[in-house]
Symmetry: C3
C-alpha cells in the first residue's frame, strides 16, 4: 500500500468525506481536471459567396476538455500512472467521436528506466512541438498541427493501440511511440511510429521529431499511404521576451501507383514568432506561418497573434486575430483559411475573436 | 491564486488525499454532483389497440444527471464559473445525444455588473418558470415545458452557441440569452433569443419570459419557422401552503407561405396548483394544466399530482398520478397523453408511478 | 441530514477543499473509481488464411472502466445507494454503446429487509458466479460468461429496465432480478428474470443461479427466443491453494417453430481450476473449460492460465496464456477460439498476452 503513516489523519479525513472506510479511501487518488474555453469569433470568406460569419466557438485558445488522472507511488522510484481525457465541445455540449479519444492510457514510470504506457495517447511529435508554437496549437489561430489549405497538410496528433517509451538523459529527453496495426499476418500495415528528442538548457529549448502514420488496411493495398512528418523546432528566452520557431516537413507518399486520385504531395511549413508581457496581467504572442507547397508557386502564409489578460493563474480573457492568404504570380490561388478544422473556400481569410478560458 | 491563507491546512489535507502537491491541489475545485431517479410507471392507452404498459423509468420526478461544476473567486466581487452536465437515462445507462447537452458553459460573474456566460445552456424561459410549476417539470407528469398533445406545443429548454447575461436589481432579476445562428452572411437565420424578468418579495414570486427560436437554415428558407413563447407565472406562499399558476402562449409562425405541410398554429396553456406538507416527511403537490389549441374546440386538460416522502434532505420516495383527456362537443378528439416525451395515440390517458430519487 | 457531529471537522476540511460551504459539502459524497487495464496480446489463427495477429488490448484481465458511486446513511439501518459505471476501451478511447451501460442504478438497502434497486445493472447470475471462475471473467481468457465457439453460448451479463432485490439470511444470500419488457399489453414479452442463492461457510463458497432472458418483441413473435442458463459453482480454500469449479447449462429455446434459421440448441460448460501464491508478489491461476455442445461430437475445450505480479494492492503486471481446440473423431471441427468477444474462424487457437492493471 502506498499511503504512508504520517498521512493517516488526512486519509481518515478523506475517508469520512467520501463515505469510505479508511482502507477504501486509500485507493481514491483520482483527480478530476479540465479546460473550459469559449468565445465569439468572426471570419471573413466563410462560404462560396464570400460572406463572413459570426460564431460562438468552443476552444478558441485550447480545446475544451474534461479528464481524470492519477499517480500511485509504488516505492523505489517506481510509479503507476493513468490518464483519461475527453474533448468537450462547449458550444453544443458534444464530446469527441471516441469519448476518451484525447488520452486513455495506463503505464509505469521508473526514475532510471523511464516510462512505458499503453493505450490511446498524443504522439511524441505533438507533445514535443507544442511548447515551440507561439500560438500554442490554438484553433484561433495556429497552422502548426494542420495547415488550413488544400490539400490539407499536417501531422498525426493522437494514436490508438499505442505503446510509448520515454526517458531523460541529463539535458536530453527522448520519447518513442508505436501504434500497432492489428492486421493479422503483418506487423507493418496500418502502423504508426514516431520518435522525438528534446534538449533543454537554460534559456534554450530545442527538439527534433519524426512521425510516420500508415493508413493502409493491408501492406499491399494500392490506396495505402505513408504520411511522414519531420519537425525541428525551438524556443529561446531573452529576459522577458521569448522567441519561437521551427520547420515542419510533411509528405503524403502512396504505397501503390501515384495517380490523380492517389497523389503524392509534399509541404514545408516554417514558423517563427515571439511572446512578451505588456503588463503584469497582459501577455502578447504573435508571428507568422509560411507554407511551401511543393509543385505550386501559390504558397499559403498566415500572420497570427493573441493577447492574454490573466484574471488569475487559471482564468484569463483572450483576443485572437489572424490574416491568411495565398496567391501566385500568375494569379492562381491555393484555397487558404485561418481555421485548421474547416476546409477553406477562398484564397484569403481574416479572423478575429475573443473569449474566456478557465482551468480546473 | 484564489485560495486564502487560513485554508492552508485544509488544502494540505486535500493535497495529500488527491495525490497532489499543495500547489496543484489549489486548482482542483471541481465538484461532482448529480441526480439518480428511477421508478415504475403504468400508463393506459399506450398503443393503437389501447393496451396499457408497465415501464421502468429513469427520472420520473427529475431527469437523472451527472455534472461537474466549479467556481473560482477572482477577487473584487468577480468570479469565474463553469458547468458541464450530462443527462443519464438510468433504465438503459445511455446519456443524451450530446453528452454534456444539458449544460456546457464557462462564464464570469461580477457582483455589480452581473454574469456573462458562453456555451450550451438552459434558456432563461426554462430557468425562470421552473419554480412556478407545481410539478417542477416532472416527466411524471408536467405539461409546462411541452404539452403531450398533437401538434406538440412548448418552449425551447436548451440552446447551443449561446451567450447569456444575468443581473439583479433589488427585488428584480433579469436574464437575456441569444443563440448564434452561425449562418454565413446572416445574423438573423437560425438564431434563438430570449429574455426573462423575475420579481421576488416576501411570499410572492413572479416572472415574465419571452423566447423566440428560429429553426431556419437560411433567412429565406420557405420551411423556416419562428417558434415563440410568452409566459407569465408566479407563486405565493400562504403559511405552509404554496400556490402556483401561470399562462404559456406559444406560436409556430412559418416565415414562408403557410400550407398544410408548413402550418401556423397557436396554443395557450393555463396551469394552477398547490403544494402542502401532510406531515413532517410527506409533501403533496397537485393541480391542473389546461390547453387552448386555437382552431379546435377539443382542448386538452390534465390533472396531475405527486407525493414526496423524504428519507433525508437528498433522498426521497415519490408517487405520481395524472389523468389527461381531450374531447370536443362533437366527439372529435385531440390526441392527448400524460407523458411529454411520447407522442400520444389516444384522446385520453391515465398514468401512475412510484420511485426513488437521490441527489449527490 | 446524514453527517454526524463527530465528523464536523472533516466536513469543514472537505468543504474548503471542494469550494463549498459546509452545508453543501455534506451532500458531496460521490466517489470516483475505475480500472485501467491494457497490454499486448498475440493470437494464432486470427483470419481465414490462418495468420496470427498482434494486438494492443484494453482489459486483458478485467474490462477497463470509470465509475461514480455513493452511499448515504439514512439512519435506522437504512441507506441509499447509487452506481454509474462506464466501460472504457483503452486502446481507442471509446466507451460502451450506452455510456453507463455497465451500471446505472439507484436503490435502498435495509439491514433487515434487504436491498431494492432500479435501473440498468449486472445480472444476479453474473455477480454470483464471478468469484468461482479461476480466470475471473478475464477476456484473456475465460469462457465462463460466453464460450468462444459457433454457435456462441453464454448468459446475459447485464439488463436494463431492471429491478433487483437482495438479502442475507445467515450463511445464505439471495438475489432476484427482473427486467421489464415494456411491451404494451404484455408483462411477459421481452422480459428477463433471474434468481441466485449463495452460501458461504469458512473455506467453502457455493451458489446456484438461474436466468431466463427473452428476446421477443411480442409474446407471439415466431423469432422469439428464451435464453436460459443454470449454473452451479463453488470454490474451496485449502491453506493457500484455492480450488474453483462448476457447471453452466445454457439453452436457446425458440417460442415459435424450430427451423434452420430459428434453431434450438443446448450446451453444458464444465470448468475447474486452482490458484496458488508462488511468492509474496506472484500468484498463479490455471484450469480448464470443457463445453459439451449437444448434437455434435466435436466439443470445445480450453486450457487457460495467468500470473499476477503485484506492484501494490491496486497495481499489478500480468501474463496470460491459453490453448483452445475442438475436433471430433471423424475430423469435423467446431469453430473455436480463446477470445470470447471474437467469432472464431478455426478449430483451434492459441493466445498469449501480458499487461498492466491499475485500480483507482
Amino acid at each position: 500500500m502506498t499511503v504512508r503513516t504520517p498521512l493517516a489523519l488526512a486519509v481518515a479525513c478523506a475517508a469520512t468525506l467520501l463515505g469510505h472506510s479508511a482502507a477504501q479511501a486509500q485507493t481514491s487518488t483520482v483527480s478530476v481536471y479540465g479546460i473550459v474555453d469559449a468565445g465569439i469569433e468572426y471570419r471573413t470568406q466563410n462560404n462560396a459567396k464570400g460572406d463572413g460569419q459570426w460564431r460562438l466557438n468552443s476552444g478558441g485558445l485550447n480545446t475544451s476538455r474534461l479528464g481524470f488522472k492519477g499517480t500511485e507511488d509504488l516505492g523505489g522510484g517506481l510509479s503507476a500512472q493513468f490518464n483519461l481525457e475527453s474533448e468537450v465541445v462547449l458550444d453544443s455540449g458534444a464530446t469527441g467521436s471516441a469519448f476518451f479519444g484525447r488520452q486513455a492510457w495506463v503505464g509505469l514510470e521508473d526514475k532510471d528506466l523511464g516510462g512505458l504506457a499503453f493505450g490511446r495517447m498524443s504522439t511524441a511529435i505533438y507533445d514535443y512541438t507544442l511548447a515551440h508554437d507561439f500560438m500554442g496549437y490554438a484553433p484561433q489561430y495556429s497552422w502548426l498541427t494542420a495547415t488550413a489549405s488544400v490539400p490539407a497538410t499536417g501531422f498525426t496528433s493522437r494514436i490508438g493501440n499505442a505503446i510509448r517509451y520515454s526517458n531523460k538523459f541529463g539535458a536530453f529527453k527522448v520519447t518513442a511511440n508505436a501504434g500497432l496495426g492489428e492486421v493479422a499476418g503483418s506487423l507493418n500495415a496500418n502502423t504508426q511510429r514516431g520518435v522525438s528528442v528534446g534538449y533543454e538548457a537554460g534559456a534554450l529549448s530545442a527538439q527534433l521529431s519524426y512521425d510516420d502514420a500508415r493508413t493502409a488496411a493491408t501492406e499491399t493495398a494500392t490506396t495505402s499511404t505513408s504520411n511522414r512528418s519531420l519537425i525541428a523546432s525551438g524556443s529561446y528566452k531573452l529576459d522577458t521576451v521569448k522567441l519561437y520557431g521551427g520547420v515542419r516537413a510533411t509528405q503524403r507518399k502512396p504505397v501503390g501507383t501515384v495517380s490523380a486520385s492517389n497523389p503524392r504531395y509534399r509541404s514545408d511549413l516554417f514558423w517563427f514568432g515571439a511572446s512578451a508581457p505588456l503588463s503584469q496581467a497582459i501577455t502578447a504572442f504573435g508571428g507568422v506561418y509560411l507554407e511551401n507547397k511543393h509543385g505550386t508557386s501559390s504558397d499559403p502564409v498566415m500572420l497570427a497573434g493573441k493577447l492574454h489578460y490573466n484574471l488569475s493563474k487559471r482564468t484569463w480573457l483572450y483576443a485572437t486575430a489572424s490574416v491568411a492568404r495565398a496567391k501566385s504570380d500568375d494569379g492562381t490561388q491555393t484555397l487558404t483559411g485561418v481555421f485548421r478544422d474547416q476546409t477553406p473556400v477562398s484564397g484569403h481569410q481574416t479572423g478575429i475573436g475573443f473569449g474566456i478560458q478557465h482551468r480546473f
